[in-house]
Each structure stands twice: as structure tokens, then as C-alpha cells.
Symmetry: C2
Subunit: 221 residues, 2 copies
Amino acid sequence: MSEVERRIYTRQWHPGQLIPNESDLASEFGCARVTVNRALRTLAEAGLLDRRRKAGTSVALHPVGKATLQIPVIRKEIEAQDKRYDYHLLREENALAPAAICHRFQAEPNQKMRHVISRHCADGLPYVIEDRWINLTALPHLEGVSFAAISANEWLLQNTPFTHGDIGFGATNANAIEATTLNAKKGAALFTVERTTWDHQTALTSVKLLFHPGYQMNTKV
Amino acid sequence: MSEVERRIYTRQWHPGQLIPNESDLASEFGCARVTVNRALRTLAEAGLLDRRRKAGTSVALHPVGKATLQIPVIRKEIEAQDKRYDYHLLREENALAPAAICHRFQAEPNQKMRHVISRHCADGLPYVIEDRWINLTALPHLEGVSFAAISANEWLLQNTPFTHGDIGFGATNANAIEATTLNAKKGAALFTVERTTWDHQTALTSVKLLFHPGYQMNTKV
DNA sequence: TAGTGGTCTAGACCACAGA
DNA sequence: CTGTGGTCTAGACCACTAA
């Protein structure tokens, strides 16, 4: 059924062009409309088509604008490279969150939160710093939990249901502490991931990952 | 039909647990098996379920491991922020590609390629450097094309069909030239995107984007 | 309001991978 | 071999939205 895909790819149908409706395609291909629907829906999810009721289906103007990428458990990511995984808890405290964090959580200032800083290593080399704030108002049962043995990253993924998350990718120059922790030079460019996880309207946790210099995150389209 | 989702979310079904097969769920919910199939397939695509023939369907161990992110035309991205878009071609030449590029293209050394360096600005401020190599063997009609007026980024997306791409995200310290071009300090941490696009087995083009300091790429899960 | 995609049904056969 | 998901059909009704 990917004859449609071939037509898009060979530019038999051009970007922006309206293609026949589902019923016509179904009779052309001699199959049920549901089948056409499923094929076109798949292509639309892949970003190759734009579909709107009444207006019809057209070839996307900017073919492929999507990539799906993995947000793995860090331990798994390291072990997938056949490297030894080590985890070090660097700091763990209940504290009043700074204004910036409260703002990101869309919460009142001076919330009591759990602040956990840790480091993950691959074959003994620093891999990433995990700097996390956890909303104790939303997750009160976490007040006494220690992340000395298992990383907050992994514990939360396994035990805390969430509905959605925001992710931001960027770069930052390592400050003195970060440089020391990652065994890098001060000022080195670090790839960063900031992620806030939500349960409906409530922010659960926000994490900043600072990767070692040279780290690259790969994906495919 | 997202009763299933609710059960996963409330941990009524635990991560790793096998859930009933499609026929049983269909009779439980009083709907057709195809309907159950579609619902479960959607959840599996979202990463909440693992499905295998004969083995059955189970709740994913690491709920949500995927994010879809946009790879936009840079002009669109800037205009979406209500900022003025400017494009400057900095350098354009046909040259023998360095070994590293040929290797990334999985091509013989010393291929003749088109090398284009340009800068995109938002409201007059440098936004990103686009450093691109184009495989003239695969796209010979491009030999005479100039990207003085339209960016290679946009021209290629609109005119060159491709089947897939590799993407890598990382960070790098700005060298002297990059710093000048981006109006940044030397050594500043730059967020980078490297992308190679393919037509089946043939690499078409490879681009390195160097974003201005402070740039963040956002997405949701 | 009319045309489009969105979704559902009941039943069927197929392809694959565990046991 | 057998149970599971994968896919298909023919027909129906619904929901949205552009005209």
C-alpha cells in the first residue's frame, strides 16, 4: 500500500498538492477505504502528509519535520555501550527551591523540595551530572527516600506515573564545580538536557543533565 | 477507549506485566477486536506498551522513552517568533571534501562536493551558522546553483526528496571564526546539530548547525 | 450545508514466533 | 503446532470545518 509513498517521493505528487480523497484512492487501488485511511494516517504521523477534514489531504510542504528520540534510563544507555556503569550520589537535601525552579514548576515561591545531585560514570569516566528538584508537595512519600543506591532518574521513571514532560536541549560552559565533577576543563562546552515532568497540571520533578564534553545524542528520521 | 491508558497510569497494570489479549479485551469492553488493536497499537507507538506476537502485550518497563521533535526550516522557526529573518551567504565553492566528510558520506576520498557556509539572523542578531556539504555526484544538477538568495537548508528541503536522515545533537566551544560570525565570545558553548540526509544508500548532504550561545531547542513528550 | 476524514463493527485470513 | 498480533473487507455513522 505504500504506492502512495512512492508517488510522493518521486514527486508525482508535489509538496503542497492536494491528493485524491480516501474513497477515490480506495477504488483506484481496489481496497477498502479503511485501509487507505490507515495508510494515509501513518504517513501523516510521519509528517509526509497534512490532513484536514473537508479540506482534504495534501503533501506536506516541508517533508519530514519529525524525529523520535529516546529518553533512556542513563544506566541502560551506558550499559548498551558495553561499558561499566557507576553511580555516585553527590548531594541530597530537602531545601526551599530557588525562585527559578518554583517558576518552572508554576508553584508558589519557597516550596519545600528535595534536591538531588548525582553523577553517572561509564567505565569510570564521568558521563553526566544529574541535578534534580523533586516536588515534595506532589510526591510526599519521597520525603524520606534516599537515592544513594539507585539514581533518582531510574527510580522515578519506574515508580512515578506521569502524563507528559517538557524537554529542552542546549549547551553551557562548565563552571568550576561542574568541570571538576566531570573531569573536564573549566569553560568546556557541555551538552545539556532540561526536563520537567508533569502529572496533569502538577509538576513532579525537574532535572538538568550536564553531559561530559564531546557527548553526542543521536537519532534518526 | 483510553480506559487501557488509565489502567497503566494508575498502576492497575504494572510495568512489565502482561495484559489480556486483544480478544479478551474486546469482549470486556464490548467492542470489536480491531478497535482494541488500534488503541493498543497507538499506545505501543507512544512507547507505553511492548507488543510481540504469541508472547502478547505487556506494559513497557520504562514508560515513555520517546519524544518527537521538529526539524524546522530555520526561516520558519525565526518567523514563528515574530522576528525578522535575514540570511547571509558567507562562502560557496566546489571543493574536494575532506576525509571526515567523505567518511560520513561513506564515499571515496576526494569527492567533488559543494561547500556552502551561511548565517541566519533573527532581528539582526546572529542565530545560527549553517555549514553544509552537498554531494554533487548524487545531485549533479546542483553544480551551478547559487544559494545567495535562498538558504540551502530551505532549497534542499523543498526540492530534494530523501528517504531518511541521521541527526546528532551536541555542544562545542566556539573557535575564533565562529565566535566572530555569531557575535559571541571565543570559547562560548554552542549547541550543535549535525544532520546527514540519505536517498536510500546515497548520502545527499551533510550539515552542521552552530547555534548562538543560549539557544535552546524545546520539545514535549 | 456538504464533503471530508475519523472511527466503529463483525467477521475473516494471514504471518510470525513461542512452546 | 498453536496462540498471538497484523491486516484486510464492506458498510455504516459521526464530527469537524471550509465554503
